[in-house]
């Protein structure tokens, strides 16, 4: 830091460190999936298929969310199942 920076004061926290961290996370994920085929659509289809063997599944009621992290990513697949009331109505 030059003496000029000292006088100006560091009013804004340096943002370049945030840029590096974000890039490292997103690129580490992208490099893994670069050559491989995009597996999420197939994973979702297979999961819904398995669940549908046991209960009725509405394709509109399937939600997938992903949060990528440095050490850990969370993939959540939420399948809303019809309750007993809805089933009774259907029959």
């Amino acid at each position: 830091m030059s003496w000029l920076d000292f006088f100006r004061g560091r009013r804004q926290p340096a943002s370049a460190a945030a840029a590096k961290e974000r890039l490292q996370i997103v690129l580490s994920h992208e490099r893994i999936s670069r050559d491989g085929e995009d597996f999420l659509p197939r994973l979702q289809r297979d999961l819904v298929e398995v669940v549908a063997r046991y209960v009725t599944v509405d394709a509109e009621k399937v939600n997938v969310s992903l949060e990528r992290g440095a050490d850990l990513s969370t993939l959540a697949i939420e399948i809303e199942l019809p309750g007993p009331k809805a089933l009774k109505r259907a029959s």
């Binding site: 000029l4 006088f7 804004q12 370049a16 974000r22 997103v26 999420l40 939600n63 992903l66 990528r68």
Partner: protein
């Protein structure tokens, strides 16, 4: 019915993605339900600029190919609840982007949103043509520099002849000029094209002038649309442009170089 707005330029790197993120966020902040779509298949960047890169699950190509529903691919913004982002694919081939597919997505989005912004890739190839094809309005992002002005003129010609509105002989796409990375100090020294020169040459209505500003880099580092940055002249200029787009009259600002004394230069840093 939603209003479809393309953000385009012909030339690369002039500020389309920065503008798409800022403008979409600004519109959404006024309560308008807004979605911003990345059309840059293979080189997606809007997710990074919007700071949602860790939450991308599906993308526009997955939706077009029927592998995911639109609602699964839309990322809802955590800062502004009327804002959503539809990312481009990073891995798929550009040819997967089809006119029919894009039309289906726009039709479905039209039911839920007031504004649909399309962040165009550079050039006048397929991605750029599809981004502008269904547009009702166009933001022409132009830098005060010869090749950018020429490319803007070229893309205006493309919009006027090859958009859906032109093909169907409906009222033309409404064009807006947005001059970005404007550096008044260099304009004053005669090193950069003046605003009036650009207006005279392109001859379309001026929506705003966004000054060259350090805060744009800071915003992209942290994944914040620049319009949300505090103490930023670029943010102020984008807010003005959004207000004008919605019908307000606001004077143009930041067209003159800052005149500052030694004290301000020592303590104030450069244009924020």
């Amino acid at each position: 019915m939603a209003e479809i707005i393309v953000v385009t330029s012909g030339k690369g790197g002039v500020g389309k993605t920065t503008t798409s993120a800022a403008f979409a966020t600004g519109l959404a902040q006024t309560g308008k339900r807004t979605v911003v779509i990345d059309f840059d298949v293979g080189l997606r960047n809007l997710d990074l600029i919007m700071g949602v890169e860790r939450r991308v699950v599906f993308d526009i190509i997955n939706v077009i190919q029927g592998e995911a529903r639109l609602n699964q691919a839309l990322i809802r913004d955590k800062r502004v609840d009327t804002l959503a982002i539809l990312p481009a694919s990073q891995t798929r081939d550009k040819d997967a982007l089809t006119k029919e597919g894009v039309e289906r997505i726009l039709d479905e989005l039209s039911k839920e949103f007031d504004y649909i912004l399309c962040d165009s890739p550079a050039g006048i190839e397929k991605g750029a043509l599809l981004a502008m094809y269904f547009a009702d309005q166009a933001l022409i992002v132009t830098n005060p520099e010869v090749s950018s002005v020429r490319d803007s003129d070229r893309i205006l010609g493309v919009i006027q002849s090859r958009s859906k509105r032109a093909e169907e002989k409906r009222p033309p796409v409404k064009e807006h000029l947005l001059v970005t990375r404007y550096d008044p100090a260099r304009v004053e020294k005669g090193e950069m094209l003046k605003l009036d020169d650009i207006r005279e040459i392109l001859a379309i209505p001026l929506l705003g002038v966004i000054p060259e500003s350090e805060s744009v880099l800071r915003a992209s580092n942290t994944g914040t649309p620049v319009i949300l940055e505090p103490n930023s002249v670029a943010a102020e200029a984008y807010k003005d442009a959004v207000a004008r787009f919605l019908g307000e009259t606001r004077p143009m600002r930041f067209l003159e170089p800052e005149r500052r004394g030694l004290f301000a230069r020592l303590f104030g840093g450069r244009a924020a």
